[in-house]
Amino acid sequence: MTTSRRSFLRSAVGVAVMSATGVPTLVACSNGSTASGPARASSVTLPTYVAFDGPKPDLAGTADGVPPGYLTYPKDLVTTVKTPPLSGGKVSVMTDIFDPLPPAKDKNAAWQAVEQKLGGTLDLTIVPDSDWATKFQTVLAANELPDLVLLSDSSLVNNLPAFLSAKCTDLTPYLSGDKVKDYPNLANIPQVIWQACVVQDKIYGLPIPRSITGGAGFYNKRLFDAAGIEYPATAEDFLAACKELTRPQQGQWAIVNSKGNTFFTMIQQMFGVPNGWKDDGGKLTRSFETPEYKAALEFAVQLVKAGVTVPGSDGIDGTARKNAFRAGKGALVYDGFPAYSGYVKDMSRLDPENDPRAFVPMAPKGGKANTWSDNILFAYTLMKKADEPRVKELLAVANFFAAPFGSTENLLLTYGVEGVDFTRDAKGNPTLTSKGEAELTVPWKYITAPPQALYNAQFPTYVERAHEDLTKLIGMVVKDPTASLISPTNDKSGGDIGQALTDVRNDVIAGRKPISAFEAAVQKWAKDGGDKIRGEFESALSGGASPR
């Protein structure tokens, strides 16, 4: 739903956006100039990684992005920001919110405390995520950018490189290499994450890091145990386990599906389907052109035919999918890794025996399973063009919001003011009061954020498991070789021709069309623009400018 609305707005507002910001869209389109090109990692020196020297975690993190784990809240917190970044001034920020609205600043103790630490006014424009596209494009078109603005969806800007160079600060001179050491909390962000903030060989974004991979879904160990099944070692075992787990007379099936066949993501990773594209020495193959994809598709058809998915679940939405998995209607579900702690909490409340675990994909005999690096960032924040002292000031503000777990700033940003927003239990773990729950939804976690840490006082076993699972999942991760490349054709029509293909795929999975129909659809995709997209990505990959 969001996508279609966004693309609608893009066509309606997008043109106006670019002409109002003074970016020469038409020129760039028509004369084939080098307005955009590849964003190769090679020529930009990424910020040097300097790990935060804070409280020792119970489970160590890695530079690949496996987060450190804490079983209890650390006691020896470190203060990372000694002098307030602002001296009485103001910083305006526009960002997203997913939570209910927090109380306004004058009634919000946490907000006031944060401003005190900042040494100035935090002027936040909070935009509901569902309305982000409208507000963002209006503000952009009216040329009213705040100091810091989230770029939650880069497709909202028609010609991203041109927009960035015209309106946003190139942060490379301030953050590249050892320069980042002036901002220790930003230096604590691993390079794999900074890599995703680079456009056109320049660092434009201040990242909001995530767990690198979105994982491959979850399974409820209680149902596996009840059926007397071991965790399957191969895809063949998986199929047998699914059949075993399916007990319609008890209202239980193996897999909870949802609209768009979300369970197919698990299957693709089991069969080692590439993450978007496969780079074979500069030659690109789209994931669905590979034999792995075909095998995965055949396997999915087999699963649906065997009746192991919850009946009718291929038409349900995300909330219904979560409900079905929580209620034990299905033993396996695809959902993003960040949903893990929510499942642990909700499901233990419904039935203490419930035991949701991350699904680590297993390969078919002789194959190789993988996971995708599809959750490196939530998004990144852009800085409006400013003079050097102001840029440094704003970077110091970003540095404050990126204060890592184990710092006093992070305690304030996550839990607010002690005694008002949170109290401590016997072990010193902070617990939000009801006032704190309301106040702490201020979306500063969507300005910039530290790399993630695993901590859960209520379910310490979750921390151990999530750490173990992420270590496995990140170990299997494959990158999308086109992640930081630009293909104008893909921006323009990639979504539409991809959707046409996905529709056929869904028909195949549901058994409405034969597999041969999918092969025909792939050829049609190539003809309708797929080959052109491939060509643009390949030339961008080889270092040439992409033709825009």
Partner: protein, 297 residues
């Protein structure tokens, strides 16, 4: 239904006919009411029941709880937004009426330049300025981030203006002339003769404006940056569309927890109830008012 109400040439309805009509009306009513009952029932249901029954509670929750309402009103954000919305609705509607009445009355009589002003107003009905020019205008007028940005840009709705003007034009000129002979000025005529005769249409126009203000969402999204000024629809949207679990980091075991669906449904109830309370009082004017304005052209 008494036969006295039907024309003499019509036969009395047969029993079967009445029964069929009754059934049809009952079915239609049920179809309309059932979703409302669903909404109220779900808003009162607990988390485990909603999860167990797959999201929607058809009629009665087995263990009713007010947890969802408690969640919404915790923190005081929603109650504050309720006040803001009520204020904007009352003040905005009053200002709308004053300006629209003045314009409609002025243009309902032949005056110099009337045609031009009329065309100018009608023009806005056919051609809107678009989101971005409006945004720039609001910003340039210094209305950005103020309550006035929710009221001023829509002060006159061309449609409501037309309804009012048509109605005013149909008040006999003789009535106004005789008032003038008695020494009444334009203001006195408007206040003491025209408006009292136009109660029905005024009620309708007021309702149109009021519902518009109550549902005000888009302008608020664009023009308000301070969340403390947000009206109810914008605040409630965060609960309905985004489906995020609310708080819940520290609930004590055994305490009822509101599920997302219950909160969403409770939000719908909160947004609906005030309008539902006002509507019956205005309903009797409703059809009458719109039709008089529209038919007598």
């Amino acid at each position: 239904m008494k036969t006295s109400q039907r024309p003499p040439w019509m036969e009395a309805p047969s029993k079967a006919g009445l029964a069929i009509k009754g059934v049809v009306i009952a079915v239609v009513c049920l179809l309309v009411l059932y979703p409302f009952v669903n909404i109220v029932a779900t808003s009162l249901a607990g988390e485990s029941e909603i999860t167990r029954r797959g999201g929607i509670i058809p009629l009665f929750p087995s263990e009713p709880t007010l947890a969802a309402y408690k969640t919404i009103f915790a923190g005081g954000v929603v109650s504050h937004a309720l006040l803001v919305s009520a204020g904007i609705t009352v003040i905005g509607t009053a200002l709308n009426l004053v300006v629209t009445i003045a314009l409609a009355y002025g243009l309902s009589r032949p005056i110099v330049g009337g045609r031009f002003v009329l065309t100018a107003v009608l023009f806005t009905m056919l051609f809107g300025a678009g989101i971005i020019p409006n945004f720039l205008l609001v910003k340039a007028l210094g209305l950005y981030d103020s309550y006035a940005s929710l009221i001023v840009p829509g002060l006159v709705s061309a449609f409501n203006f037309l309804v009012l003007r048509n109605f005013f034009q149909n008040i006999p000129a003789e009535l106004l002339d005789s008032a003038r002979i008695d020494g009444a000025g334009d203001l006195a005529i408007l206040l003491r003769i025209v408006l009292p005769l136009s109660k029905a249409v005024l009620a309708v126009v007021a309702l149109f404006y009021a519902v518009g203000h109550w549902n005000a969402f888009f302008n608020a999204l664009l023009y308000l940056s301070d969340t403390g000024k947000w009206p109810l629809p914008l605040v409630l949207r965060l609960y309905v569309l985004q489906g995020q679990p609310v708080g819940g980091a520290s609930e004590s075991p055994g305490e009822a927890v509101a599920s997302i669906q219950a909160v969403q449904m409770a939000v719908v109830v909160v947004a609906l109830v005030p309008i539902l309370c006002v509507y019956p009082f205005l309903q009797r004017y409703f059809t009458k008012g719109v039709l008089t304005g529209a038919i007598k052209g």
